[in-house]
């Protein structure tokens, strides 16, 4: 009997252990963090200490230590023991954290720190002309700066007045209108800071504006260049007389068309919709106008599906199509999150494309595939290798039906190679998304690294590289497109800097605010001789592909202007190609888009009737049936090949144009 009781008591003790532990936790909740100097006010540059302590229910200070931290370390630096330094004006929270110590539970609190804005210092206008012609106007912008020279973007100067509104008046949007000859002073005021400038309105000599356009019958998307010359009554040109441009529209489809055209104040006009447009050039009350006819661009063509090499059990990644040494046509496609395969296709009969060989390497992703210009060597990238060494694999594709692995190169490439490019016996390999390595493959069985190119910007990252005329164009997310001379043969303003594969030299870079730069492709317009670099986005807001194509027009490596875009609103861009002033772009769920990019480019090409054709690749079965996810295009001879993640390889052909409106 005694044993039974003892047994029961032992079990009782074991079983009740958890209950007593919870009770202890409950008692400890009386401890709290007390912040003695909450709502601190500091000036920029000030330092202070957050005074906080742990007390029990009777107010007794406990020895527990606290950890302090901030989510805004660039605005308010915080050391772990509560020393703070105000770096930028604003209101911030300092989190105070107590770990479990001395039998007391974890606690969390916070203190508010208000970093006071420095006193305002000055107001600066965007322009302060000494004279204005009667009847003209300018747009004023007033910026406020504080004593530490911070631009107070949160403040707007809404008190801008004219001393003589009969001479010059300013409206509530900052538009200054010169009304009649005389002197005036403009005063801007915010809080106790004021600034003023004086000017005068003088008689306007302009009595006429000669207006001309380079063409009065164009198509949608064609840029009209406008010339307007203000003259006085004697026919003399008034050089400094401003001219503003505007237009009225009579679109052919007048049932509520959206934004039919746009005009820039540098004298460029482009229409999205066909119709009659009257362009006006104005100086004061002197207006000239001219009417232009915009016809439909009529470039659309039907697209014919010539063949489909179905791949539905594994996602298809990139493609490359080439003419083999035997004169036949071949293609290679990679695989994404698959079995480490690259498929080799005979596409000589594009109606019956067949795989003729498969190379399988230790990888889960063969993201990129490239073939040398002579059709003998291929390089495939590796990611997800079981030994985590990744790198790239060099192949002999002289006989694409019997592809041979010549070498594997993973030295220093263990982070994975996402993209590659072959150019003049060198492989350019994106290394771990941080840089590209340049690897000599003159002897493809014994490749060796000759150099690397890496940016030095904080948190830099690179996604892809494409080489043309000895210039490597890499796409670098937030660092945009970077052009590097690796043996440039370009001339004039775009000449190189003496770079080589062994000694790559940066030429220039072009960024844009979103930081979504994923692809880059250079092209010289055959119709205008303008040189462009096209930058493609990749982004997935809410998991859905989005982004667009950016057109940078380059006058030199230092001077790049983003002049146009091609933005399909319902889809997201991936890889692209340009041939003969035609853009081929894989627009993920939006399929293949073929776009006329001839002529000067301005505005959103999507709205201008420039789309020649689109094709939604999809298969009725497989892992993602009926779901277009176009990966990359390649125009090749008279065909267009497209790799689609969910359906495989497609051969397409544009049917001949049956009717095309001309500009005449």
């Amino acid at each position: 009997m005694g044993k039974a009781v003892k047994f029961l008591l032992i079990i009782f003790v074991i079983g009740s252990y958890q209950v007593s532990a919870q009770d202890t936790t409950g008692e400890e909740s009386q401890v709290q963090i007390v912040v003695e100097n909450d709502n601190l006010e500091l000036n920029v540059g000030d330092e202070a200490v957050i005074n906080a302590k742990v007390v029990d229910s009777e107010g007794t200070t406990l020895a527990d230590t606290l950890i302090f931290f901030s989510r805004n370390r660039r605005a308010l630096s915080v050391t772990r023991d509560g020393h703070i330094k105000a770096l930028k004006p604003g209101t911030y929270n300092v989190f105070i954290f107590k770990t479990q110590q001395n039998g007391n539970p974890r606690l969390r609190s916070q203190a508010t720190v208000n970093v006071i804005y420095p006193p305002l210092d000055r107001i600066a206008f965007n322009t302060t002309p000494e004279q204005l012609y009667e009847g003209t106007s300018i747009q004023l912008e007033a910026r406020v700066y504080d004593k530490l020279d911070f631009h107070r973007e949160d403040l707007e100067v809404d008190n801008i007045t004219s001393s003589n509104p009969e001479v010059a008046e300013v409206d509530k949007f900052g538009k200054l209108r010169a009304k009649s000859p005389g002197s005036f002073t403009i005063t801007a005021l915010i809080e106790d800071v004021t600034t003023e400038w004086s000017s005068e309105v003088i008689a306007n000599p302009v009595t006429s504006v000669d207006l001309s356009v380079n063409s009065d019958v164009v198509r949608t998307g064609d840029v009209i260049n406008i010339t307007a010359v203000p003259k006085d009554q004697n026919g003399n040109v008034v050089q400094d007389a401003p001219v503003t441009y505007s237009f009225t529209a009579q679109p052919d489809d007048d049932r509520g068309p959206a934004a039919p055209a746009q005009i820039e104040q540098d004298g460029r006009f482009v229409a999205n919709k066909s119709g009659l447009y009257t362009i006006m050039a104005k100086n004061a009350s002197t207006i000239s106008e001219t009417t232009v006819r915009v016809n439909p661009r009529n470039v659309s063509q039907k697209i014919e599906v010539v063949g489909h090499g179905e791949v539905t059990d594994v996602p298809t990644s990139d493609l490359w199509v080439w003419e083999g040494v035997d004169g036949k046509d071949y293609a290679v496609t990679g695989t994404h999150v698959g079995r480490g395969e690259a498929f080799f296709w005979d596409v000589s009969d594009p109606e019956n494309m067949v795989t003729i060989d498969t190379v399988t390497v230790d990888a889960r992703v063969v993201n990129d595939v490239k073939v040398s210009e002579d059709g003998r060597i291929a390089v495939i990238s590796r990611e997800g290798a079981s030994n985590r060494k990744n790198g790239l694999v060099i192949l002999d594709v002289t006989d694409p039906a019997n592809v041979k692995i010549l070498s594997r190169f993973d030295d220093g490439l263990t982070g994975g190679v996402h993209n590659v490019f072959i150019y003049e016996d060198h492989v350019y390999a994106i290394n771990n998304g941080r840089r590209y390595d340049i690897i000599n493959i003159e002897d493809p069985e014994n490749p060796y690294r000759v150099s690397k190119f890496e940016l030095d910007t904080p948190g830099h990252s690179v996604h892809d590289v494409w080489i043309e005329d000895g210039v490597a164009y890499s796409s670098n997310w937030t660092d945009g497109v970077v052009a590097v001379d690796v043996g440039s043969n370009m001339s004039g303003e775009m000449q190189g800097a003496g770079g080589s594969p062994e000694n790559p030299k940066k030429l220039g870079s072009f960024t844009y605010p979103s930081g979504w730069n994923h692809a880059a492709f250079p092209f010289k317009s055959q119709s205008t001789d303008d040189f462009y670099v096209i930058a493609g986005d990749e982004t997935f807001p809410d998991g859905i592909p989005a982004g667009w194509i950016h057109f940078f027009k380059l006058n030199s490596w230092e001077e790049a202007e983003e002049v146009a875009r091609y933005e399909v609103p319902e889809a997201g861009t991936h890889n692209l190609w340009v041939k003969d002033d035609v853009l081929y772009v894989a627009y993920y769920q939006g399929g293949l888009r073929i776009v006329d990019i001839s002529g000067e480019l301005m505005g959103n090409l999507y709205d201008q009737g420039r789309e020649i054709a689109k094709f939604l690749p999809k298969a009725g079965e497989g892992r993602s049936p009926n779901s277009p996810m176009a990966w990359g295009p390649q125009p090749y001879k008279d065909l267009i090949f497209v790799a689609d993640m969910n359906s495989g390889l497609w051969a397409l052909k544009l049917q001949p144009v049956e009717e095309t409106a001309s500009a005449e």
Partner: protein, 366 residues
């Protein structure tokens, strides 16, 4: 004698309530499929001895890139799970999910190739190693994150290619290894500083390292290539997988010396000591097997072949009954989670997962 009946009833009630876990039937663990950007919730039914995927959660930033979920952990209160996403542009991130809904709660950026992690019950902070697997051979860091606000509090500089972040039973120390400097590193979870560096390859005679050692001047020719550290639940012992020398090391943290050095299967990678302190379960990455070591006897009592190659992680149920092993597989092969009954020392089930099953962490038993 009459008092015995109510006492018996009371004791029975308390036993049923208090020993619920001892009678657990359902076991749950999260596992990351690194090459498929998925996390699976694995359910193991102890009655049927069968494991299934209860739910699959897609993770990562880019649906068309492989972002690489690598390390995974569950908060001590079981309400959230955390996964480190290895790849980014260029930095990886930490993502926090609700265990109730398996929906994303929030994220915060980390360093290069963030990997394994764990939360200290004492500090409530999460300690994640920035493995920087493919970067320059230079010291990386342990990021400390306050998981409620998902604020990265600080980065603690540590060794080259740090891996295997595990918290000691007291919650006061985090342990990880520096793969390319052959070090076991201890971090004080409260002061957020490295409190000990212990050189593994130079301590074969028992010599200990020093926390102020200038590791930047070391020659980086690792011998042990340690990949994981796990503290014993009750003793001042740390077990380390010496991936490069095929050894299981036991380090006494009172004396700071290696007290045992066991030859293991090829390339031990991850390991975990059972909560009852009886076994350490070690994955042998190089041979696709799992070793179970009896710590009292100091010998391997079972080597269980995995269903495929590249054994990766291990997590053990709190009742010490089951070990859950993640196995990566090769190429297009699915990964797997393999359940080992630690009472019979046999594999009882295999459930296939997305490719490259890696980080694995026990959630709950009920």
């Amino acid at each position: 004698m009459k008092f015995l009946k109510p006492l018996f009833t009371l004791v029975l009630f308390v036993v049923i309530a208090g020993t619920e876990n001892l009678q657990a039937q359902d076991y749950y663990a999260y596992v990351a499929a690194e090459s498929e950007d998925m996390v699976h919730l694995i359910h193991f039914n102890a009655e049927t001895q069968q494991a299934t995927i209860a739910e699959t959660i897609e993770v990562g930033r880019y649906p068309t890139e492989t972002d690489g979920p690598h390390g995974i952990t569950v908060a001590p209160d079981g309400k959230h799970w955390f996964v480190s996403i290895a790849h980014g542009n260029p930095y990886g991130m930490l993502a926090k999910y609700s265990t109730e809904t398996n929906k994303l709660v929030s994220t915060t950026d980390l360093g290069m190739f963030p990997a394994s992690m764990e939360i200290s019950e004492v500090t409530g902070l999460l300690y994640v190693v920035n493995f920087n697997l493919h970067g320059e051979m230079k010291p990386s860091s342990v990021s400390v994150v306050e998981p409620e606000s998902m604020t990265r509090i600080t980065d603690i500089e540590t060794g080259i290619m740090p891996h295997g972040s595990r918290i000691g039973a007291s919650g006061k120390y985090q342990y990880h290894v520096s793969m390319m400097t052959d070090e076991l590193i201890q971090i004080n979870t409260q002061t957020l500083e490295v409190s000990k560096r212990f050189k593994l390859s130079e301590t074969k005679g028992g010599m200990s390292g020093h926390k102020d050692m200038d590791h930047s001047k070391m020659e980086h020719k690792p011998v042990e290539k340690p990949t994981w550290a796990h503290p014993h639940p009750t003793k001042p012992l740390i077990y380390v997988a010496a991936n490069g020398s095929d050894e299981l090391l036991e380090i006494n943290t009172k004396k700071w010396e290696i007290t045992q050095r066991y030859k293991t299967g090829k390339a031990p990678y991850n390991l975990e000591v059972t909560p009852d302190g009886k076994y350490v379960v070690v994955t042998y990455k190089g041979e696709g097997a799992t070793g179970i070591w009896d710590l009292e006897e100091g010998k391997e009592v079972a080597k269980i072949e995995n269903s495929r190659k590249v054994s990766h992680g291990v997590t053990i149920s709190p009742d010490s009954k089951y070990a859950f092993i993640s196995v990566e597989g090769i190429g297009g092969e699915p990964g797997s989670v393999e359940v080992i009954n630690l009472q019979t020392l046999e594999r009882v089930d295999v459930v296939e997962t997305g490719k490259q099953a890696g980080g694995i962490y026990f959630w709950k038993q009920s």
